[in-house]
Structure formats: C-alpha cells, structure tokens
Subunit: 357 residues, 2 copies
C-alpha cells in the first residue's frame, strides 16, 4: 500500500495552532512540513521547514505548493472546494474532497449522517421567512437556526424559543441558506475522535467529555463520565462515519448524550484534528496529531488509549500569561501556540493535567 | 529573577538532532528558535523559526545572531572559546563559558572534578613520549591515553595494555596535549542528567544505564539496575557538579559504577542535553529538552521522574528504515532526525519503549 515515507514533505493548509501541532508531531517521525496560509506570521510557520503566504484562491501558488509536497492535509474544514480541486490535481489530498464537501454544508452533513444510520436532531432546510415558519411548525420549539455553511464557535446561529424569535433568527442568517434543528435535551457534550488510514485500519480514541463556555470549548475530560455502553456506542458511531466517508486521517465527531434514554446524537463532525483532542498529546499513548500524520502517510496507526485521567483546559486571551503557575504544577503540561497578541477570547494555548502518569 | 518569557527567541549553536529536539520542546512552551550552524540543510532548521548558516569563527554573523535572540544555548561542548566570548558580549550564554571551558579540556575537567570531591580515575597529563612513559609507570596498566581536547565517541583515544603499546598510543595523539587515565574496572556505565536554573533549583533525573557498542551509545535503560544507595550517590554527585559550576541548563555526567566497592567514578561530563537522556521524551514527566529550555529561560523546573521502565535504542545508518516495525509496536516511540543520508554508524534516530505507560 502507498506509504509516504519519513523524509517526505507534508503540506498543510492553514497555519494556526492545529497546523502547528501537526507539524510538531510530524517532525519526530521524520517528515518536513510546508505550511500554506494567507496570514503572515502564522503560528505554524515557526516550526515548519517551509511556508507559503498566499490566498486560498491563488491557483498558481496552490499548484506550486502542491507540487512541492508529497501529501496535503488541512487544519480547518472550510477549505474552499475550488482550492481542494486545484490541490487534488497535483497532490494527494487527505482527508479527501468528499469529507470536506460533506462537512461544509450542514444540510449535506445531516443528510449523510442520517442516511448512514447515525442519529441526528430533527432538521429542515430553509431560506425564506415562510420556510422557517413552516420548519418551526414541523420541528417545534425550542429549535436552533444555523447557516448551512461557514459556522463555527456558535457564529451564524440563533435560538428560537417562541414565535417572536423567528423573524430575528431569520435575519441572523443574513440571507444565507440555513437549517432549523430541533433542540436536543442532552446531558453531556462529548467527542469521538477516530483515525483511519488508507489500508482501512481504524483507531478510536476514548470518548472525551467537553464543557463549553460562551460557545467556546473550555474543558475536556477523559475518560468521559458516561456509561460504558454509551462510550462504546459513541466510539463505534465515530468509526462507522469514518468508514462511510472512506476517510483518511483523524476525524472528530461532536455528539450529544441523553443519559435517560441512552441516546447518542451526532451534532456535527470536523474532518480534522480537534481542540477536544489536545488532551491526547500527553494523555494518550499516541497523540491525535501523530495519529493524523500516521494515517495520511499510510503508516500503521498508534495505540489511542489514554494514560489515566486527563483534563485539558483552553487558555484564552491573557490566561496564557499564567505560565509560572502551570510550570510549577508537576502534573500540568503548558502549551503556548506562539501567537503574539493575547486578544480576549482568542485561543492562545492550553494546559493538560495527567493524573495517573 | 530574570525569566525569559514565552514568545521570546532562543538561539541554538548547532543544528543536529540535539538542537532539533531542543527546538521541538521549546515550541510548546511558546519559544521561537533561531539555529546557528555552518552546515546547510541541518536537521534543526526544519523545525526552527529561523536559521543562520555561517562558520563559528564568523564574528559578524555571530554578533547578528546573538543580537536577534534573547538567550543562546548550544548542542555541543566544543563551541570555540572565542565564539562563546563573542556571543557573550551580545547575549546571555547558557550554560556559561566556565562550563564550556571546563568540559573542553580533559585535564581541566578531571582537575575540577577531583578538586570538588568527585571521584575520577587516576590521571596524568603528557605531551612527549617520555612523559607518557613516566605516566604509565605511575598509573599502571591497562590505561587509556586521550587527547585533552575534541574527543568524542572514542575518537582520539588509545588503550595501553603493555609497554609495546606506548609508542603507538603516543602517535595516536597526533602531537596534541593528552592525558593518561587509569583503567576503571567498572561493571556499569551510567549517566546522571541534572538540570539547574538561575534561581539555583536543581532537578536530577533517575540514573540511566548505558550500553555502548563500538564506542557509540546503543541502549539506555531507566531505572538503572543498580543499588539504591549507588543511585542516590550518582544523582547527588550530578547535582553537586551543577552547583560547583554555577550551572544553568541540563548537564550530563557520565559515570562508571564499581558494584563490589560501591564506588561511583566520574568519566566526563557534557554541558548539554545528551543521547542518554532521549528516553525522557516519553519516559519522564518532563523531557530533558523541555527541562533545558525551562532552565535556560529561568522558569520553574519540571518533574524529572520516570514513568515506569523505559528503554531507548539508537537507530544507526539504515536501521532508521525499519519504521513500520516500530510503528506497529504499541509501546514503541519512533524518532527520525530528518537526516537525508543514512550513512553507516550515523545517528539517524532512536526508539523509546515505555512499558508501564
């Protein structure tokens, strides 16, 4: 099977912390990384062999980039379809264009999930105010209106609790195609992180339990405080999705758990390594970043099991400056993403505590 | 106290695997690295923010380099004194010039060790054949002749087992000042790796047991299979040396153990991270590379304890290509240094097994 050998070069679209941590995991395996990102001074440039600063629409730059590397991956799911197409003409793109296209449109995503037997909240597409009213009548309230594309960290979303919210929610979509989703009375938010290589091997990480604050991930805990049957169900659902997409790389599936009924509902998936998997750097036998590199290079996958109880906390804005406090804690592993401006709410780093080391 | 904050830049003299692994450990703490190395395409360049290709005698390049960074460290003990001096005029050099000067000359080194109550093999300096003959008469045979400067991996050394070896041993020194050392009837070779920060905090790693093949480190095991009193003695000797040198950074002290007598004899020390500490990347709570960065930046030191039983094996030459074998082993962590030519005997990477993870 096609193994991309150590010594080869991995191209990464996107130069943020995820690209940076992929590059840091690729190096010990002997891979060089070439980062492609429109922003100068991107954090990933600091640890990469080479980089290109160019727009994702710059086809000449994309072509030169693709030709200079042995495989291309990405750190964000909103890679434009045309960008993926240009890359795909000159290099292996992993994960492939299907995963990207499916993840980028909530309607396509939910339809795909539901067609493959993976439970999702009731949903209905809308554009006009009239269509939204019909959708609310069908799905009931509370419900959430979301733009089909380009939403993240709670942006492009509006909750509808009563008839009087409908008009505002419609306006919040800004005229973009959207879907209405039924509210899931969940107890827990978790994520299933799964790797799949071109040979079809799958490695599923222990389920991670996530707590969000202001729509941004705050804390992840592993193992999740859930029933063993639910744990297995969620992991198997993640593996099933990876297979259904004929996926190569690490995929993250965000899920809601309804403990009373034992139901596991897929919220959405990201065709990439994920913030809720950062715990794995010190907390798992193989980190999600090394696992992603192994998968896209066609190498055997590593052991995804956790090492005891692990907790990861994001450091937003000025929180990054509490460096001494974390370094003094013998169980804490401090991570700084190399960003210079600690703007409020910006993901600047994270800390992982491994208790059972 | 002077803390060099995350976001600052660390300058590293030398672009081999040690510089590379320092850079890989500096990044998660938020430091950028600038590598200075005379060889183009050095392995460390692949993971560093910036690099300079220039000779160690190029004073203008050294000055520009030193001025562009917040602290300078190095991956090899043979940094020329003049290089250290030029760097020291424009930047903090850590570890400092005393540690370098002491480590570079076996006569100065042994004298320093012995003056500070650290046991060494009997030694005597010589230059002429006559002086060597007198030294042999005093120290006895077998004995080892070693050039005072620039020896490593067994180079510049000759064993004297009988009178007839003396002339050849003298010739092997190539006219350079040398010392004769008495043979130590040791059972085990170990290393004590110790970190010390500017505040005077010291963290001593568990003693590592080393097996050499053809004068090159082959396997390191932690914990060493030695008596607890010897373990403590060796660690305390390492800490004592770090204090005596007013050392900042990670220092490695190679020692011989004579189990019958319980004696611990210092062979030599290296003012840097060391091959016999690579086990700590996955096998200790804080790796020697992160520890070195913490120390030279004036940060609190990390917990040096091992996580269960750890074994590190060097991958020389073509051994580096057994990648699938190692990646299939769930307890193995494969490291490739990014060197392109797997020449025979060249250190290309290493593998670490952590059993008790």
């Amino acid at each position: 099977m096609d193994m991309i050998k150590p010594g080869s070069t991995i191209g990464i679209l996107g130069g943020g912390q995820l690209g940076r941590m992929i590059a840091l995991a690729a190096a010990p395996l002997g891979y060089k990384c070439h980062i492609y990102c429109p922003e100068a001074n991107s954090p990933a440039f600091q640890v990469a062999d080479s980089y290109t600063v160019a727009a994702y629409e710059d086809e000449a730059a994309l072509e030169a980039f693709a030709k200079s590397v042995d495989v291309v991956t990405y750190e964000f799911e909103n890679v434009p379809a045309k960008t993926a197409e240009v890359i795909g003409e000159h290099a292996l793109l992993r994960p492939g264009a299907t995963a990207l296209a499916t993840a980028q449109d909530r309607l396509v995503e939910k339809t795909f999930l539901s067609d493959h037997g993976l439970a999702v909240a009731p949903f209905k597409a809308f554009e006009s105010l009239e269509e939204l009213e019909l959708a609310v009548a069908e799905i009931g309230m509370p419900a959430v209106a979301k733009t089909r594309c380009f939403g993240y960290d709670g942006k492009g979303q509006a909750i509808i609790r009563s008839q009087s919210d409908i008009e505002e929610a419609h306006a919040a979509m800004g005229g973009a195609p959207a879907i209405l989703e039924g509210f899931v009375p969940f107890n827990k938010e978790v994520s299933a992180i799964v790797a799949r290589n071109p040979q079809g091997s799958v490695a599923a990480y222990p389920i991670a339990e996530n707590v969000h604050t202001n729509h941004i991930l705050d804390v992840t805990t592993v193992p999740a405080n859930i029933d063993g049957v639910i744990e297995d169900t969620a992991r198997i659902m993640g593996a099933k999705l990876a297979d259904a997409l004929d996926y190569i790389g690490v995929i993250t599936v965000e899920m809601f758990i309804i403990e009373d009924s034992g139901e596991v509902i897929v919220n959405e998936f990201a065709p990439r390594v994920h913030n809720s998997g950062h715990w794995s750097i010190e907390g798992a036998r193989t980190s999600q970043f090394e696992q992603h590199v192994r998968a896209i290079c066609g190498l055997p996958l590593g052991d995804p099991r956790n090492i005891g109880t692990v907790r990861m906390k994001n450091l937003l804005g000025e929180d990054i400056n509490d460096v001494e406090q974390y370094l003094k804690d013998p169980k804490a592993h401090y991570h700084h993403y190399g960003k210079s401006e600690p703007r409020e709410g910006r993901k600047m780093g994270h800390v992982t505590w491994v208790d059972a080391e």
